[in-house]
């Protein structure tokens, strides 16, 4: 019994079970609406893995939501619900686009500068929520949601400024080429074009996609955040505050400072994610009709990852894979791609139930006892 409990308690096992249940529930829904689940799933997986290009596209789609996922997971560790991650992401895209268009330094300065602009903007934007929470006690969910809309409309305002707006479109000008992703710039160079002409594989995964360095940065950020939380004094403080604010305060830890710091870091990660989307994929800022959900999807990713920064890498890939592959099932057999939302929703739901599983195990162990009394 003990051994079984132990295995059941591991986070990884939970994730596998949650994913399995997700597929099962989606299969039931598919079956009930007259589709063969096995056929749907085989098309889904074909849509995900049958070509190297598909895999590259999944990675490209995963990068930003891994980062927003880490942003959300990081704040969650400190006991803060950073729903403002969407707005911090948008502010990151705005700052990156503005700096990318206004300046034109050599590439080795310009590219980091654009990323830095997005990171800083996202961080400062997040820090406002932190400041309001720390100094005035305003709940971060309230400010977060409002700031999401402020960012959204600020973005649309910037797109329409004469200095940035490209006539005849609903976007800004493209950012200066010096600020674009190194992989993109290499691909467009003489040498790059040469390789792409001659190597079919490279042509497939880089030439035909928006391949960028986002995933590498996402992995570095995940590892860094993991390290910070685990080994540094900052991480120690943040975890202490997240687990017990009162004891931390009594022990001399400055809780207000930590709240602001957390939002600064979480916002910076979200802003970086936005900047990488500009440099790597869109190259320009679009006028938005609705929020793009990169932030909100990060929330799902973080919850699927059970709040672990490294887990966000895998959860982000899974999320991107399912949504990307989901597009093909509609094309191929007309099954609604919304089934993917049901699938992901079920996984998130099951992961949220994870905290209940040890309780259920305890209950079974107690054999019908009602509550734990000393």
């Amino acid at each position: 019994m003990d051994r079984v409990s132990k295995i059941l308690r591991s986070q990884f096992t939970f994730a596998v079970i949650a994913i399995f249940i997700g597929f099962l529930v989606a299969a039931l829904v598919l079956g009930a609406t007259g589709y063969n689940p096995l056929e749907v799933y085989s098309i889904l997986f074909k849509g995900m893995f049958s070509k190297p290009r598909y895999i590259m596209n999944i990675i490209i789609k995963a990068s930003p939501i891994i980062l927003t996922g880490i942003s959300f997971a990081f704040a969650l560790r400190v006991g803060l619900f950073n729903i403002g991650v969407e707005g911090q992401y948008i502010v990151g895209t705005i700052a990156a686009a503005v700096v990318g268009i206004l300046f034109d330094f050599p590439s080795y300065i310009q590219f980091p500068l654009v990323l830095l602009a997005g990171t800083l903007a996202g961080g400062l934007y997040g820090a406002i929520s932190g400041l309001l929470k720390a100094k005035r006690g305003i709940h971060e969910v309230i400010t977060g949601i409002m700031f999401n809309w402020i960012a959204f409309y600020a973005g649309n305002y910037i797109v329409n400024l004469e200095r940035f707006h490209e006539p005849g479109t609903t976007t800004t000008y493209q950012i200066n080429a010096s600020g674009l992703d190194p992989i993109y710039n290499w691909k467009m160079s003489e040498a790059g074009l040469e390789v792409i002409r001659n190597n079919e594989f490279i042509r497939e995964v880089i030439g035909k996609t928006s391949a960028n360095i986002g995933i590498i940065i996402a992995i570095i950020v995940a590892l860094t955040i993991h390290f910070i939380l685990k080994n540094t004094t900052i991480g120690y403080e943040l975890r202490a505050v997240g687990m017990n604010k009162h004891a931390s305060e009594a022990a001399g830890i400055n809780v207000a400072k930590n709240t602001i710091q957390t939002f600064l870091i979480a916002g910076a990660i979200a802003g970086l994610s936005g900047a990488l989307s500009i440099t790597g994929v869109s190259h320009r800022l679009f006028e938005l009709m609705a929020q793009e959900n990169y932030g909100f999807n990060g929330l799902s990713v973080a919850l699927m990852a059970g709040g672990s920064p490294i887990g966000c890498i895998f959860a982000g890939l899974l999320f991107a894979g399912l949504t990307y592959g989901g597009g093909t099932i509609q094309l191929e057999i007309g099954a609604p791609s919304e089934i993917i939302d049901i699938l992901i929703g079920t996984i998130v739901f099951c992961m949220a139930l994870v905290s209940l599983i040890p309780l259920i195990i305890n209950k079974i162990n107690q054999r019908g006892g009602k509550k734990d009394v000393k």
Binding site: M243, E249, G252, I253, G369
Partner: protein
């Protein structure tokens, strides 16, 4: 013993397991009708578990329950209530902003029909109970405005209102003043005179001596003995409970006072409701002195401690340690000025429960060069220090440095806090309810440690709601009432009754 009708409760072979832990191991108990029967045991001995089974909150894995000689399957509290059992829990279960009468009838409302409450009828029934047993309460008062002692009476009336013949009281005196305790004992005797049966769960030996006829002792889930209280001494009861000889009186040499280390001058502090909880409080503590603050909970103790530790701002007045003002700075500054605090709520304010013992040990010092270098925590050093303290303070299990502190027993959690706080070599040690909820063994240890620290020349501020603890430990006793120190006495110049009177806001003549 056979199952007999003149026994209100008989429990046979009660066994209860939580996972692999056996909380109760084939326990028997016989409680005669119309008596006060006490159940004695250390924390975790299984007293509350046994009574929770009787009240149907828990179900036994094995064993039988007989009520008034009849076998009853007490599946849930409703069955218990049907059979005339009532329980007053350690933590009251009252609706704060309801009146006393509303609380009493809650769930058993008498109606005039159409769901309209017949409050007059209810009031009459309540007043009958109040009069019969001398339970002086005002049915129209709102719960949040009455004292803890009053709330307890409400709980008792609540049980009686539901027709209880057998009343279980779980640690009823923990929060009461001496006068209130006396009153409670009177009420218990009146109940018994009326033919009711009272079961009292406690670890306070004195009260058992004062009230109960029989006492059943449990130790680590096992039945030890049932004794006639009249024939045993407090010491004998303590030894039975712990299983070894215990020293009930704190060994203590006369105090050698040094200079004044800590001083509070005309302090004013507000509470959450923006009212003054501490009003014009003055205090002085010397080196080598244990100053005990006696008082009923809610007279400003909490706000006082929070003001000293800078968890709460002050409005007026000075708090000085070694002559330096520390009010309205930061908790960190207070710690750096050599003030260490054992907070009342060890799980909420004292420890990060999900952290390991080692992580908790460095909670106040992780930023110091001993435990971190260029922003990286030196885990090995923390673990090494934890191991050292585990040995020094006899924290158990003795290999717990990397276990979450929430897995430790209350006494061992408290030892982790004390170890950490003393590590900072404080000049002032504040101990708030340092033994709350701990068993006799741990209490003995903590009291000894406090006296040792005093003898090392530290100033100690002891705040406790247990008057015995204050009387036992303090060199100087200060009585707090309504946010101010009403009087201060040298140890030995004052008796408990007078202090009890002052604690309740009374005046001492002369």
């Amino acid at each position: 013993m056979r199952i007999q009708e003149d026994y209100a409760v008989q429990m046979r072979g009660i066994t209860k397991r939580f996972g692999t832990f056996t909380a109760l191991d084939s326990v028997d108990i016989d409680i005669k009708r119309g008596t006060i029967h006490s159940i004695l045991g250390e924390n975790g001995a299984g007293k509350t578990t046994l009574m929770s089974i009787l009240y149907g909150l828990l179900n036994a894995d094995e064993g039988e329950i007989y009520i008034n000689g009849k076998k009853v399957d007490v599946k849930n509290p409703n069955v218990a209530i049907e059979h005339g059992i009532g329980m007053v829990h350690q933590h009251f279960m009252l609706v704060e902003n309801f009146t006393i009468a509303q609380n009493i009838i809650l769930g058993m409302e008498e109606t005039k029909g159409f769901g309209v409450i017949d409050i007059d009828k209810a009031n009459k029934k309540i007043l009958d109970i109040i009069e019969k047993y001398g339970l002086e309460v005002d049915p129209n008062a709102v719960i949040e405005e009455v004292s803890v002692g009053m709330q307890q009476k409400v709980e008792i009336i609540k049980a009686l209102y539901r027709g209880a013949d057998i009343l279980i009281l779980d640690e009823p005196t923990a929060v009461l003043t001496p006068q209130e305790i006396e009153e409670l004992l009177n009420i218990m005797h009146k109940l018994v005179d009326d033919g009711k049966t009272v079961i009292i769960i406690t670890h306070k030996l004195k009260e058992i001596k004062q009230s109960a006829e029989k006492c059943t002792i449990l130790r680590r889930g096992k039945y030890i003995d049932t004794v006639d209280v009249a024939n045993v001494s407090e010491e004998e009861l303590a030894n039975l409970m712990v299983g070894r000889a215990v020293n009930l009186v704190v060994d203590k040499s006369p105090a050698k006072f040094g200079d004044v280390v800590f001083e509070i001058d005309d302090l004013y502090v507000k509470n959450e409701k923006d009212l003054y909880a501490v009003k014009g409080l003055n205090l002085k503590i010397r080196r080598g002195e244990i100053l005990g603050i006696a008082g009923v909970d809610g007279n400003g103790q909490k706000e006082l401690v929070e003001a000293i530790t800078n968890l709460r701002p002050t409005d007026k007045g000075e708090i000085k340690i070694n002559g330096k003002e520390i009010q309205n700075t930061s908790p960190k500054n207070v710690i750096e000025n050599k003030v260490a605090t054992i907070h009342e709520d060890r799980q909420k304010v004292g420890l990060v429960l999900d952290f390991t013992v080692a992580e908790n040990v460095i909670l106040e010092s992780f930023n110091k060069p001993e435990y971190s270098k260029r922003g990286i925590i030196l885990k090995d050093k923390a673990v090494k220090k934890a191991k050292e303290l585990i040995k020094k303070f006899d924290i158990r299990p003795d290999d717990c440095e990397n276990l979450p502190v929430k897995g430790l027993s209350g006494g061992n959690q408290q030892k982790v806090i004390i170890a950490r706080e003393l590590e900072n070599n404080p000049d002032l040690l504040i101990a708030v309810q340092p033994t709350r909820g701990l068993d006799v063994g741990a209490i003995e240890y903590i009291h000894k440690t406090l006296v040792q620290e005093r003898d090392k020349g530290k100033a100690i501020l002891l705040i406790s709601f247990e008057l015995d603890e204050i009387m036992n430990l303090s060199d100087t006793i200060a009585v707090i009432y309504d946010g101010a120190i009403v009087d201060t006495f040298e140890q030995g110049t004052i008796d408990e009754r007078t202090i009890g009177l002052l604690m309740a806001g009374g005046k001492v003549n002369g």
